[in-house]
Subunit: 117 residues, 2 copies
DNA sequence: ATAGGCAATCGTCGATTAACGATACTAGGA
DNA sequence: TCCTAGTATCGTTAATCGACGATTGCCTAT
């Protein structure tokens, strides 16, 4: 089954199947740490806004995101790095630009963890 | 007239009907800040664990929470303050003790905001 | 009235975060 | 090739966080 770019996710290649995302429970110390880590990643207004922009397809490229925010390019890049490290966004090199998109696996995971608190 | 504990024990008095919780949208800059604030509050493993303890009724009194965690009393108190300030827990004076419980309005709000990202 | 226990607050310290400008890196175009 | 544009990283600074012990304040029981 070709991981063709479905209408919803065009920007980034298929997820590398993060191992952590498979054998996960929703409770216990590990789950607590995981939720805390994800929550911390969205614990800043700029990062929430970036996530929203990506989920609404308002922007997909780093420079677009920079244009939308009242922050320096380096600061935005750092926020993107944090989101990426938390597993909430993915990126792909698109020529000179870098495209970002939501990592739906991570977002699902966050929602699942929050929902059972 | 000991502190009576009714079975389903809502530990705390009815919610003071926080004004912010009524006329809220799920998008926009305000919603971004609100979600960031709530997420930041649960962006620490100890606070996630406290929320879980409260939601599972494993503990309701400050001293019990302190006993469950490998942290000093003052540290736990600070975490509780943060959760309370974010609107995720409420507290009530129960004689000498202080009872804590989930603020379901705040939790619902968090879940709603997360769900539409 | 006072003693004792519980929780909040204070003061401090080191670690982390957020922001910026400057610089380095990298891929395309001249 | 060299230049340029788009990103990432580096280095710095101020602010915030997390943890602790000590202290304070408050209730209850004695």
């Amino acid at each position: 089954m070709a991981a063709k770019t479905s209408p919803n996710e065009l920007c980034c290649p298929p997820e590398p199947a993060q191992p952590e995302l498979s054998l996960q429970t929703l409770e216990g110390a590990e789950a607590d740490e995981e939720l805390a880590k994800l929550a911390k990643a969205i614990g800043h207004p700029a990062r929430v806004r970036i996530l929203r922009m990506l989920s609404r397809k308002e922007a997909r490229v780093c420079s677009q995101i920079v244009d939308e925010l009242p922050l320096a390019q380096s600061t935005v890049s750092e926020h993107l790095r944090i989101l990426k490290e938390a597993g909430l966004v993915r990126s792909t090199q698109d020529g000179l630009r870098v495209g970002y998109c939501i990592n739906f696996d991570g977002l699902r995971r966050l929602k699942a963890l929050v929902s059972i608190v």
